[in-house]
Symmetry: C2
Subunit: 206 residues, 2 copies
């Protein structure tokens, strides 16, 4: 069976190497954040030569973005198990993001490493960052509810929610905003989704 995406069909050994690398990275990041992920140490810790590490992940940022993708996929799976419970779409999204935020609070160093890598990434990582971004969009859309294809207005709202989510995380990680502050920001931006669709829509201006 050919791979689903454009992965060039890794052998079992290679798959195992890749996984060891990601695990070692996650462990180091959980200890001390972005700075604690040192390429030599990742290589040694995952039993791989430095050159091989760079063959699998062409930079530290690529590596950490891959870790973020991993974590997001886990979150997505967990959310499928226990979807948000609120009625209002906006509240469901806020609940979902707060759940993700609590996960980050449990591993603040890991969050630091992932989020700093994500926002520091330059154009050479844009494909990988885009994958992470699409995953995030999917998670938010899933949280919004069972609706069919989202409207352009909804997509704009989701984009802005994502912006706020990333930037609020950064201010929290750098100690410039409290946990309460992040909650408020999330709840504030989720108002853009508007109350549940059954209510009377107030006319969009222009």
């Amino acid at each position: 069976m050919p791979p689903l995406v454009s992965a060039p069909a890794l052998t079992a050994r290679q798959e195992a190497r890749r996984r060891r690398i990601l695990q070692a990275t996650t462990r180091l990041a959980s200890r001390g954040g972005f700075d604690a992920v040192q390429m030599r140490e990742v290589a040694e810790s995952s039993g791989v030569a430095l050159g091989t590490l760079y063959r699998y992940f062409p930079s530290k940022v690529h590596l950490l973005v891959a870790v973020m993708r991993d974590q997001l996929e886990q979150l997505h799976a967990a959310l499928r198990e226990r979807p948000p419970t609120e009625d209002d779409p906006a509240a469901r999204v806020a609940q979902t993001l707060m759940r993700a935020f609590r996960a980050m609070q449990r591993e603040p160093h890991l969050a630091d490493a992932m989020v700093r890598a994500l926002t520091f990434a330059d154009r050479s990582v844009s494909a990988e960052v885009d994958t992470v971004s699409r995953l995030t969009t999917t998670i938010i859309l899933d949280a919004m509810g069972p609706a069919g294809p989202p409207t352009p207005a909804q997509l704009s709202a989701v984009r802005v929610i994502e912006h706020t989510w990333h930037s609020a995380l950064i201010t929290w990680l750098s100690g410039r905003a409290s946990i309460a502050q992040v909650r408020i920001d999330i709840e504030t931006v989720c108002r853009l989704i508007g109350p549940e669709p059954s209510r009377q829509a107030y006319s969009a201006r222009s």
Copy 2:
């Protein structure tokens, strides 16, 4: 006259050094963005020893955040000259941010250097980043209009607008969003401000 803030009263020569450093940094950043700002080159280009550069700005990120502060102060002054022309507060804020965005489009490399530094900054730079953040808040509040002390709801909206502003810039700089996309995001988030205050306020839920 003692300095207004906690600046330890630099001599004229020191003030000149500081300014040369910032100018050299701005010039290098305009050429090639974050990566083109190399500390050795900044030092040489501003006629200062490397150690001195580090005495003035304890890291590359500190340096670039100081440049961003400089640029924001210039923008603030320019906005005082020609304030936004729209009637609606939300439109005024959007207009102001789009004006800033056009300035960034004129110097995309400089924008890259400043914004990447700002979002990559860790706790050791939080004081300086906070200054920049407060300046940004001031600019947005100024754009909103001549109103007195802003309400907590307005402050939340402004925070979210700032988040969106920074994050949208990043997606643009890393080539994952178009200029049009950024405009849409800015206009979308500015709706959080709501229509001008003269209209009937719809009751805040909870």
